[in-house]
């Protein structure tokens, strides 16, 4: 057996299956005409391959198919609707989708009221005081201030002696003094 025989025997499988290019096919068929050893080997392999190609497929027993069916798509067919819904949501492949949906709904429930509260508080500040009301309040404040000044003017002596300089803290005493001076000056 020379080198050529060895390399040709490697290609028998493809030669028998007819998947070789024409050049190599012709080379092998020419060689088979010449070489006795290779022809013998080729005939043996052909016999074995034919026998192997005719190997039967065994049919899978029915009991196995039934066992598979009962554990896959018929597993939840006999159970209640609630069970099936539970399975669909939590065990099937829909799980990521349902979790995502739940997260979105939670986010909406939490975040939307927050915005709502903020908006309403801003609105209430605006609506509580109109410009007329502010002017009214200003007028009232001026009136009450002048009234206080009037009282203090009337009882200046007493206020100075009893209250202002004895009992209040320093800051208040000074501020009151200032206010009295302003009002008194007018």
């Amino acid at each position: 057996m020379n080198l050529q025989c060895d390399s040709i025997r490697k290609l028998f499988d493809e030669y028998i299956n007819n998947t070789l290019p024409d050049k190599q096919k012709k080379l092998i068929s020419d060689h088979l005409k010449i070489c006795d050893d290779c022809r013998k080997e080729y005939n043996k392999e052909l016999k074995i391959m034919k026998a192997m190609n005719d190997m039967p497929l065994f049919s899978c027993p029915e009991k196995v198919v039934k066992r598979i069916e009962s554990q896959t798509y018929n597993k939840y067919a006999e159970k209640s609707i609630l069970n099936r819904i539970y399975h669909w949501i939590f065990i099937n492949k829909v799980r990521p989708v349902t979790i995502g949906l739940a997260a979105v709904i939670l986010a909406v429930v939490i975040v939307v009221p927050l915005f709502h509260v903020n908006n309403s508080s801003k609105n209430s500040v605006k609506t509580m005081y109109t410009s007329e009301e502010i002017q009214k309040a200003k007028k009232e404040a001026e009136l009450s201030l002048s009234y206080i000044g009037h009282i203090i003017n009337e009882n200046r002596q007493e206020a100075v002696n009893n209250v202002l300089f004895d009992r209040f803290p320093k800051i208040i005493r000074e501020s009151l003094k200032n206010s009295i001076n302003i009002i008194g000056g007018e």
């Binding site: 490697k10 392999e45 005719d54 896959t72």
Partner: protein, 184 residues
Amino acid sequence: MKKDQYKKFLHKNKDQVFSYAVYLLHCLEDAEDVTQEVFLKLWENWYNINTKKRESWVMRVTHNSCIDVIRKRKRIKETDKDMNNIDPRHITDFKNIFVNPEKQFYLTEQQKIILSSIEKLPVKQKNVLILHYFYDKKIKEISDILEIKESTLKVMLHRARKSLKTLLSEYFYEKKGGQYEFAV
């Protein structure tokens, strides 16, 4: 729907999976277990598998679980050797398995001889032979299933054929015109 597609796929491929397991394991009960396991795994991973590669995925899983069974058997044999108490199921006397009137498995004598000599080959070569010749799979498909390069597959196939031929050589006799026949 998943259910309809799965049902279709199951009834199309169950025989292929089952007989691959039978050819590899030479035991009907183990083959039944393997088929069940494979199709349950398929149901669980249905959406994770590319629809085009579903068939080769199933064959690969079948192959892997068959090899698991073979490994388990080896372990059992090793531990039970001293006890002299080997489970008769694990002795691969397939001639009794295939002659089963209930299952109606019909094999010719030639095929039985070939199967018995394939059983003597190493597991890797056995797989390649079964996939390539019994199932008519192309080398590219086999390389998808077994995750082996095509070039190494070709070499493995060549070696397997060579050793199969030497194993079968005692059964051949020469006819007159240089033709060979099986002697049974």
